[in-house]
């Protein structure tokens, strides 16, 4: 059809009469970083929840590389190549930073019960390869010295960075990042933004929810302004920033 990475058509989601998504449509091109901005309650996170399979939409469709993935379970969607981070950070705090990353790899044969007892050589080989790759990712993002620590001992910013690394380990083609730099110190924000900016060159496409407009302007190729579950404005960061409706919403 269109060659889009991700396409969302006419998504509709109501919570007890509140229309969180009101016929929302958008698409994500390969190698693009799409910013999603809008006031609280605009339906941005709901959109992520629907796309990643955690919530079922009342109507509408989600296509990933032209295949209909509407209503698939979350783990299947991740298996197919869409990863997400969470606004209220989700990591396995008690296991090590490295284990969190290792957990995020797909197709580790050792995660099948029969391979725990048989075929374990294969899963150990994969584990070693994954470990090397995980350490590489942690080095790139400056977390390598923390690899052995429990994830809960990382600072808030480092945890957000780690959840981004987990998405990279999953090798997903589409990353849905929910406020990756909210509430983080400036230098860490820089590090996270630099990582995000490098994603297209790794062959990843990104949808980014963020309230920090400067960050959005810095990294996004295209921005959608959303309000009350619908698209209000769409264009380059410059265009959206100068849209009177956006200015009005942000001044309020």
């Amino acid at each position: 059809m269109s060659g889009e990475m991700l396409e969302v058509r006419g998504l509709e989601k109501r919570f007890d009469g509140v229309r969180a998504l009101a016929g929302f449509s958008c698409s994500l091109r390969p190698g693009e970083i799409l910013g999603l901005i809008g006031p609280n309650g605009a339906g941005k996170t709901t959109l992520f929840n629907v796309v990643s399979g955690f919530i079922a939409a009342n109507s509408g469709k989600v296509f990933f590389k032209d295949k209909d993935i509407t209503g698939a379970s979350p783990y299947r969607i991740t298996n197919r190549g869409i990863s997400r981070t969470f606004q209220n950070l989700r990591l396995i705090r008690q296991i090590s930073v490295l284990d969190n990353v290792l957990l995020s790899f797909q197709d580790q044969p050792g995660e099948k019960l029969r391979n725990v007892f048989f075929n374990w050589r294969k899963s150990r080989e994969r584990e070693n390869a994954n470990r090397e790759e995980a350490i590489g990712l942690l080095e790139e993002t400056g977390l390598a010295h923390k690899a052995g620590d429990p994830a809960e001992e990382l600072s808030y910013g480092q945890q957000k960075l780690l959840s981004l690394v987990c998405c990279l380990a999953a090798k997903s083609e589409v990353l849905l990042l929910d406020e990756p730099v909210a509430g983080i110190a400036p230098e860490m924000t820089e590090r996270i933004l630099a990582t995000i900016r490098g994603l297209p060159s790794r062959g990843r496409s990104v949808i980014l929810i963020e309230h920090n407009l400067d960050a959005v302007m810095q990294v996004c190729d295209r921005v959608i302004f959303m309000d009350a579950g619908a698209k209000v404005s769409e264009g380059t960061p410059e265009e959206v920033r100068n849209d009177p409706r956006v200015i009005e919403a942000y001044i309020d």
């Binding site: 979350p74 990591l91 396995i92 008690q94 296991i95 957990l103 050792g110």
Partner: protein, 295 residues
Amino acid sequence: MEYLLHILILIGIYVILSVSLNLIAGYTGLLSIAHAAFFGVGAYVAALMALKLHSPFLINILCAIILSGLVGALVGIPSLRIRDDYFVIATFAFQVITFSVLNNWISFTGGPMGLPGIPQPTIFGLRISSHGGFLVLVGVFCALTLCVTQRIVRSPFGRVLKAIREDEVFAQSAGKNIAAYKVLVFMLGAGMAAVAGVVYAYYISFIDPTSFTVMESIFIVSIVIIGGAGSLWGPVVGAIVLVTLPELLRFVGLPSAVAANVRQILYGGLLVAFMMWRPRGFLGEYAFQREEAGK
């Protein structure tokens, strides 16, 4: 001497039970109080097969494991829809139902009269009749249970189990089919508990439903919590402490009428004390305290 061996055999049986429950409750975070039911299913399957079909020990234990595993899947499936406290209640219900079936299906299970006269087991031509023989048998199964469990929890499979325990949403978003893992882990735990049941039935040579009550399930849960949930050796320590402690009370010289009650108080007191001051037990890495919920 026989008394000492008896205690050791009991410890062995409870090690198998608590290590297998630990896989479900300690590693995967699914607190279940149905473990005595799987224990009972194992014991009754083996006893009935031995008494009615006269089939050999190894066949019986295999059938008990498979059957109990299937029953385990039945209990695991509700865990996909209901969580935490509600799940505990669901397992409780299953436990009560199992007891009622054992107690009331008189033509098949003997009801409250139980099943007496379970023959001594013969393995590879060796008849096991002495306490020493049973201790070796229990020891072998304990070692097997620990090996299998260690293999599981240190594998990538085990890492997913811990992820499910800590944050189901994260586990799903990391691409793990948590439903399959939960059902599998219940099958595994139930299968292992059946091993304990089989050994128990052959050892005591008489079983009745009172060995497989809710109280028994709670006792196994206590072993896991006091020993330490989510650690391989925690339940071993817990089983040793909780089985020997009441036996020690015998030597304090309490009249036997009082001793039984003191034992109950002791368990309750210990459990409360551990929950308050040491929720992770002796060796545990996981405390049954959940803070997060929702989406």
